[in-house]
Symmetry: C2
Subunit: 147 residues, 2 copies
């Protein structure tokens, strides 16, 4: 019933209208129609946007997020992929916890350099054991500038 215009979605989601257009272009959200030129959104887009924000804050790229929550018609979600992502998050959380403890300690500890503080070093070593996710760095071969 209550379709939202882009300004309203922007206001409620806290995202810029340009971001919403960008996300639509990328297929992360969809407008449900137009009034003249103006996009109209279903209120449900707010949930989706919340989800996207959550994913982003967890360090997922827009592409990953798009892949994770299927593009509308397809509720076909790779459950194994989700579980894998959850495990990845688990490891990330562990590392962040270590970092948080490290920072808290550093804020209180009197050692001249934190790198010399045994407590800090111990924390760091613990963090190191949580492997970073295997990111792909596929960079396109650069082309010579066309004349």
């Amino acid at each position: 019933m209550k379709d939202l215009d882009i300004a309203e979605v922007a206001r409620r989601s806290g995202m810029a209208a340009s971001t919403l257009r960008f996300y639509e272009e990328k297929g992360l959200i969809a407008s449900i129609g137009r009034r003249g030129l103006r996009r109209l959104f279903d209120p449900g887009v707010l949930d989706r946007l919340a989800l996207i924000a959550l994913g982003r804050s967890a360090g997922f790229s827009l592409e990953e997020i798009a892949g994770m929550f299927a593009p509308d018609g397809k509720p076909q979600i790779r459950r194994d992929l989700l579980a894998e992502k959850a495990d990845e998050l688990e490891r990330m959380i562990r590392r962040l916890s270590v970092l948080r403890d490290g920072l808290r300690h550093a804020a209180r500890c009197g050692a001249p350099s934190h790198l010399e503080c045994p407590t800090f070093r111990r924390l760091m070593r613990a963090a190191g054991s949580g492997r970073l996710p295997p990111q792909k760095t596929e960079m396109a071969r650069p082309r010579r500038r066309p004349a």
Copy 2:
């Protein structure tokens, strides 16, 4: 005694040599001298790099990291800033935990669309209540790692 050349540091840290030069240029690390043109690094640089990687994985920018762990001569670290960062991390960890639980649930739940699953929605709503910082939330964007 055992100074490391850039290739060795690259090998041991898992970072590309170009990244190490880039970090040096940015003042995040320092080479302890040169043999001819070649940089020489103190083994301690590995700790520093681990710290940088940790900070990066926690979503801090290089600039923030540089500011947090003073540039060598200055052990002057803003303790209040560290504590603040720790709190920020705390909030982040909470949100990530929600996301992790959400993903785990989604991987197991049979609902056609996760957005329609009450459990998932409840989790999401919980995540939402961990208010995002106004503008600068810019979170964990873990990078590369080619073999």
